[in-house]
Symmetry: C2
Subunit: 204 residues, 2 copies
DNA sequence: TACCGATGGGTACGATCGTACGCATCATAC
DNA sequence: GTATGATGCGTACGATCGTACCCATCGGTA
């Protein structure tokens, strides 16, 4: 047995297999980072097709790797989803953290939040779509809750450096609802309204 | 051809079929409302397994009807999802409408919103889980947007009778974010915090 | 340089799914 | 009472999926 990163609990079926007549036009590739690349591609597939439409084959095709590569790098679909959503949460939280820690005043922080909501980094279609899928998954399956918990904890901590705990909680909820509505609504609320909402929530 | 409610664009394969030797212990049932019941059961299945895990067989088993009944009453999976989510949105909006129209003052309306958020009707696990699935689906597929659009329009209209348009928008977003966080968080924010947030948003 | 484990690559298998029928039987309109 | 269409029921088919292999071939280390 060849234990890959995602070691299988193997159970031989003792079957023959056709010789792997490698396509000469497609030589073997040296591809470190393949796992990381697969996670990236997986996030795109999740955003486009939802968890419901995310399959090993679809990801493999999108990443241009053979199907077998999926089972080598990931110990099943759940492991793949967990890895992908973890990356999503960490990336997003990193941006959130960095932006907020760059703010030097309470007013700056408020405006930074407005920028995050109305900007295109945190609320890109792909990020929003994948986040929604994560929420739906985490709400149903506790083993994915750790991802959202850590994410929310980081968000609150970042807000905490500028606002009192209760305000941070309310602000976090407002951010969530605003980004969600902006993603779903045909005519999303404008920047001015977002700014007004933030100001009302953070006032002493 | 027997055109059912969900007429098939039939294409005969000209195959024989085994005689339907009905199980004598399970006589044929007279079951009007079956379609409505299937929609109800489908919402439960969606909440429990997500759209990803929602299958005709699973719903049929949960509703204790034969598999064939699914294709008779619904013209495919999308039709089923559309019907189920439409019912979800209308039911939820009905409760929202009724509760808000019962409020006679601005203060009453604010307190009614607090009650909706912290109560158990609008934010039951099943409703929240199914709603999240709808959001994720609608964000990705425009043909489901009509459901969320109508839902959001009704919510805003209901809030509109008590608050100015901009406040209604902000309040709607806050409600969304708060219910979402309460559903995902391990220790959801308390009633007091919710009330404070609502008051801050609706202040003139 | 000679190994050898880590990685790349192809494919088969069993399970499950959506769907489409064919037939049986009831409710209802006449 | 009888015809007839709506509805209930069971099952087969082709597609697709997750997964588990087997084999080939590199890269790094001894």
């Amino acid at each position: 047995m060849t234990p890959g990163p995602a070691a299988h609990r193997s159970a031989d079926r003792g079957e023959p297999a056709a010789p792997a007549a490698a396509d000469p036009t497609r030589p073997r590739r040296h591809d470190p980072q393949r796992r990381e690349r697969l996670i990236d591609v997986a996030l795109g597939v999740i955003a486009e097709h939802g968890v419901a439409g995310t399959t090993h084959r679809r990801i493999a095709a999108a990443a241009d790797v053979p199907l077998g590569s999926m089972t080598y790098h990931f110990d099943g679909m759940d492991d793949l989803l967990h890895a992908a959503f973890t990356v999503l949460a960490e990336r997003t939280a990193d941006v959130f953290d960095a932006t907020l820690s760059a703010a030097s005043s309470r007013q700056d922080a408020g405006e930074a939040v407005v920028g995050l909501i109305t900007g295109t980094t945190l609320t890109s279609p792909e990020t929003m779509l994948a986040s929604l899928e994560l929420y739906a998954l985490a709400a149903r399956r506790p083993e994915f809750r750790t991802i959202t918990d850590a994410w929310m904890a980081r968000s609150r901590a970042a807000l905490h450096t500028h606002f009192d705990p209760e305000t941070a909680l309310m602000l976090d909820a407002l951010i969530e609802g605003t980004t969600l509505h902006r993603a779903l609504s045909l005519d999303p609320m404008g920047v001015g309204t977002v700014r007004t909402a933030i100001r009302r929530i953070v006032q002493p």
